[in-house]
C-alpha cells in the first residue's frame, strides 16, 4: 500500500515535471505573443484613427458631389437657354428672309414690266439684263434658307445630348449614396472598436442595406448614357419576356 502511494506520488511529480517542461516551451511563445500585441496595438490605433479621419471627410466628398450635380445642372440650363436663343434667332431670320423673298419676287415682276416698257430701247434692255444678271440676292437667300433645317436639327440634337446631365446626376447620386453607406459602416465599426463618436449624418441608408438604392430614391443606381436604339428594343423585348418582333411588342401595348 505504501509502495503504491509512492508510485502515484512519482507519477504526479512526473506530470508536474512535464508541465514545467511544457511551460518552459510555452512561455517564450506567450512572451512573443505579448510582444506582438504590444507592437500591434499602436498600429491598430493608427488604423482606427485613419478610418475615423477618412470617415469624417466623407460628408465633404458628398457635398462636393452635390456641388458637381448643381453646377452641371446650371451649366446645362445655360446651354439650353443659348440653344433656345439660337433657335429663336433662326426663326426670326427665317421670317425676315421670307419678307425679303417676297420683295425680291415683286422686284422681279417689276423688272419684267420694265423690260416690256422699254422694249424699243436696246441699250436700256442690255443694262437691265446686266443688272438682273449681277443681282444674286434671290440665289443667296435660297442658299441661306437651305442651311436652316440643318441648324435646327443640330440645335435640337444638342438639346437631346443634354439628357446626359440628368443621367450623370443620377449616377452621382448613386455614388453619393454609396459613399454614405460606406460612412455608415465605418462609423459603426469605429464605434464598436473604441466608442469613438463620428459626427451624425443624414443618411437614408439603414445598416446592412448594402449599396442598393433606398426605397423612394430619386435616382436610378443603374442609369447609363447610351444613345443606342437597341436599348429601347431590349426594353420592349423584356416587356414581352423574350426577344420579340416589333409587331409583337406593339401588340402588347395595344
Amino acid at each position: 500500500m505504501k509502495n503504491l502511494n509512492m508510485s502515484q506520488l512519482f507519477d504526479k511529480l512526473n506530470d508536474v515535471k512535464v508541465l514545467f517542461q511544457y511551460g518552459q516551451k510555452v512561455v517564450p511563445v506567450l512572451q512573443s505573443l505579448v510582444d506582438f500585441m504590444q507592437e500591434t496595438v499602436p498600429l491598430l490605433e493608427n488604423i482606427n484613427h485613419s478610418i475615423a479621419d477618412s470617415t469624417a471627410k466623407i460628408p465633404k466628398a458628398s457635398d462636393q458631389i452635390n456641388n458637381v450635380t448643381n453646377a452641371t445642372e446650371l451649366a446645362t440650363t445655360e446651354i439650353l437657354d443659348l440653344v433656345d436663343a439660337i433657335s429663336n434667332n433662326v426663326y426670326s431670320i427665317e421670317k425676315k428672309l421670307e419678307t425679303v423673298n417676297s420683295a425680291e419676287a415683286k422686284k422681279a415682276e417689276l423688272v419684267e414690266k420694265l423690260k416690256a416698257a422699254i422694249s424699243g430701247n436696246s441699250e436700256a434692255l442690255r443694262l437691265l439684263d446686266e443688272y438682273t444678271e449681277i443681282d444674286s440676292t434671290k440665289k443667296n437667300i435660297d442658299e441661306i434658307s437651305q442651311l436652316f433645317p440643318k441648324i435646327k436639327e443640330d440645335s435640337y440634337n444638342i438639346t437631346l445630348s443634354l439628357q446626359v446631365q440628368d443621367i450623370t446626376s443620377q449616377q452621382l447620386a448613386a455614388v453619393d449614396h454609396l459613399i454614405e453607406s460606406v460612412q455608415d459602416k465605418l462609423a459603426s465599426l469605429i464605434q464598436d472598436i473604441d466608442d469613438t463618436q463620428i459626427e451624425e449624418f443624414n443618411s437614408a441608408v439603414s445598416a446592412g442595406s448594402g449599396i442598393q438604392a433606398p426605397e423612394g430614391a430619386t435616382f436610378d443606381p443603374n442609369a447609363s448614357y447610351n444613345m443606342n436604339d437597341n436599348r429601347q428594343d431590349a426594353v420592349d423585348a423584356v416587356i414581352n419576356m423574350e426577344k420579340a418582333s416589333q409587331a409583337e411588342i406593339d401588340k402588347l401595348f395595344s
Binding site: E73, T76, T77, L80, Y156, T159, L160, L162, Q163, V164, Q165, D166, I167, S169, Q170, G216, A217, T218, F219, D220, N222, A223, S224, Y225, N226, M227, D229, R231, Q232, A234, V235, D236, V238, I239, M241, D250, F253, S254
Partner: protein
Amino acid sequence: MSLKFLVVDDSVTMRRIVANSLKNLGYENMVEAVDGKDALTKLAADAEINFVITDWNMPELTGLELTKAIRADDKYAKLPILMVTTRGVKEDIIEALQAKVSNYVIKPFTPQILKEKIDQILANVQ
C-alpha cells in the same frame, strides 16, 4: 384630337428636353410638374390635360406611384401615361405595366422613339 401634355420630371433639364421634343413634334400645349405630387395637383386643376409623360425616380411621389394614383381614379382609366425613365430592368418594366402605364421609353430617348410611342398610344386611344 387636341392634346395637352403634362410633363413630369424632377430634373429641369429633362423637362425642357421633353418639352422641346414635343414642340418639335408639333405639340405646343403643355404644362410641367416637378414631381408626382405636383403632377396630381396640376392634373386635378386642369381638365384639358389628356396626356401624361412622367419620369420614374422623383421625390415626394414617384412616377410609379403617380401612375397608380391616376389609375385609382376611374375618370383617368384611359388617360395616356408614357413613362420616360432610365430604369430598364425587367422587374421595373413589369411593375410599370402592372401599374398600367400606356407605354415605356428609356432615357436617353431619341425623337423617333418618343414620336413612335406617342403615336402608338394615340392610335390605341382613338
